[in-house]
Amino acid sequence: MNIPGDLKYTEGHEWVRVEGNVAYVGISDHAQHELGDIVYVELPEIDTEIDAKEEATNIESVKAAAPVYSPVSGKIVEVNEDLEDSSELINSDAYGSYIFAVEMSDKSELDSLMDADAYKEFLEKE
């Protein structure tokens, strides 16, 4: 199971990479594997204010549509436009393909997320 040590994780299988005050969000390798071939990624609108655990966007695979929740509160400042035409990038490189980035309003929310070890344990239990 591919779980990079430098990222944070949620129980909804999102990952977070922190760069300064901005949190980049994608879905974990486990999540892409469960979803199967991803055929569409809806990109959220830039400048949208979002709360932690609020639904930010949706991903569609050949099996299902799944919501992606924002792990942190703040404002959406970037989206990965490459996914518009190449949604399969998430399948081939889940951690190299962020979906959206949030400028955090409360960095302490990161403390409640799991580190790689905790996420690994969480997956084993699931």
Partner: protein, 484 residues
């Protein structure tokens, strides 16, 4: 069998008809019709002989697979056999030759049919009265949620905007509630796969409008705590919506009205055995409890002495939800089903649906993983998670493998709370022999998964179209023929 499209069979000038010689002056079209209304070029339509067109349609019908061709255990979608007498009754000229704008006194029979169907469905569901207007299940849900809105508006409680929906619900439930102006909160299932009463209690805040439930649920499980759930929701000032998609499991046994529900929609094209294929036409009647009767759509069909009439005089009504009176021919077929089956027949249909599902479940659970190992209702959910991990064979591979045996696959990857889900619903009309054939087939597929998994990855081999590229089918579907 030729796989050529009818366009590819076309040859310029070939026809399947011959007109008699012209006996009127031959005037150019452009002199007769304003040029702005005329095409600039001739449309590319296939030109074929009569025998070619017959072969074309006959070929299409043979490449189709329906209930009349074989076993079709599509969970949640309830592909029941449609007795042919329904079609006979639905084709009676007295029904097919009337017009929706005819005077009431000239369509008394049709109005009587609407009245009697509404009455029968009210009795079957334990509700007060209803409307037959909605065109399908999701339309029924939307109508039901508009009734919720009207009820809270009348009570000056429009702050109630939250609708609770279980994680296993049909996707249309949250969609319909959202379109009707509510917001959704999910209710978690407990370890039994049922609504968790404890977490429900915490979610019943003063902004709650109600709950949408399917009972039995999409897992094929009966919500045993429904009386307690109904009590809690009503106590909190909310209403209960019953998604009737699974009503076929409980007819004559237990009624949603008696469970405490306020609104129910029925899928006549499922439970009441009207055709389902090709996306419809469906019918999604809505029945309501006493407290919502005033809000039902207009016109309502009423009876005055021996006469039936359309009543538009309802001040609190949400208005029309269809141009006229719904999918009329479907209503006729459903009524034919109800009266030919009778109350005993409907009860038996539910009993056999549940019996057949439990028979398959017991036969298959030793080989395939039964996700919730308990008595099921009309359907049950297996998981291929272990098979995928150990043998590399997914629910999709099993589904494709079934096609080679002349069996329609069950529903796969739904409900999403079960990984690698296969949702099997045999329905009531299948014989023990057919069920045994399905069991044998599933066991053979399991053996194949162990011995020769490659063959399953390549399945189906015997169908007119072999395995499609699912990604490209979504991303770049080729839906149109283009002339070279």
């Amino acid at each position: 069998m030729s796989k050529k499209l009818i366009f590819e069979m076309s040859s310029v000038g070939r026809t399947g008809y011959r007109f008699p010689d012209l006996d009127v002056p031959d005037l150019p079209l452009k002199d007769q019709v304003n040029s702005s209304l005329l095409r600039e070029s001739i449309p590319v339509l296939p030109e074929v002989s009569e025998v070619d067109i017959i072969r074309h349609y006959n070929g299409l019908s043979k490449r189709n697979f329906g209930l009349d061709s074989g076993f079709y255990p599509l969970g949640s979608c309830t592909m029941k056999y449609n007795p042919k007498i329904n079609e006979d009754v639905g084709s009676l000229p007295g029904f097919t030759n009337i017009h929706p704008l005819q005077s009431e006194d000239s369509v008394q029979g049709f109005l009587e049919l609407i009245f009697e169907t509404t009455k029968s469905l009210s009795e079957i569901t334990g509700m007060k009265w209803g409307t037959l207007q909605p065109f399908a299940g999701a339309h029924g849900e939307f109508t039901g949620m508009k009734l919720f809105k009207a009820y809270f508006k009348k009570r000056d409680e429009l702050h109630r905007t939250k609708v609770l929906v279980p994680t296993s619900a049909h996707g249309t439930n949250p969609a319909s509630a959202t379109i009707a102006g509510f917001h959704i909160e999910e209710i978690q299932a407990d370890e039994r796969g049922l609504v968790s009463v404890e977490s429900l209690k915490n979610q019943l805040t003063d902004d709650v409008a109600g709950i949408m439930l399917t009972n039995p649920s999409t897992l094929g499980l009966f919500e045993k705590d429904i009386i307690e759930i109904a009590g809690l929701v009503h106590e909190a000032g909310g209403l209960l919506y019953y998604d009737g998609a699974n009503m076929n499991a409980i007819m004559g046994k237990v009624r949603p009205g008696d469970m405490g529900f306020d609104v129910i929609h029925l899928n006549l094209h499922k439970t009441f055995s009207t055709p389902h294929g090709g996306g419809g036409p469906g019918a999604g009647p809505v029945l309501v409890s006493e407290r919502l009767v005033d809000f039902l759509p207009v016109p309502d069909v009423k009876k005055d002495g021996e006469n039936y009439f359309l009543d538009y005089n309802k001040a609190d009504s949400i208005g029309r939800v269809s141009g006229f009176y719904g999918n009329m021919a479907v209503l006729v077929k459903a009524y034919a089903y109800i009266i030919t089956m009778g109350s005993d027949g409907l009860k038996k249909a539910s009993e056999y649906a549940v019996l057949n599902a439990n028979y398959l479940k017991e036969k298959l659970k030793g080989t395939f993983h039964l996700y919730y190992d308990t008595t099921c209702m009309h359907e049950f959910v297996l998981s291929a998670k272990k098979m995928k991990e150990e043998l590399g064979i997914s629910a999709l591979d099993i589904a494709k493998g079934l096609l080679d045996y002349g069996v329609h696959p069950p529903t796969i990857y739904f409900p999403s709370i079960v990984p690698e889900a296969m949702m099997i619903e045999p329905t009531e009309t299948e014989s023990k022999e057919t069920l045994d054939y399905f069991v044998k087939t599933m066991l053979e597929i399991y053996q194949k998964a162990k011995d020769n998994p490659e063959e399953l990855h390549e399945a189906p081999r015997n169908t007119p179209v072999r395995r499609v590229d699912e990604v490209m089918a979504v991303k770049q579907p080729i839906l149109k023929w283009h002339a070279e």
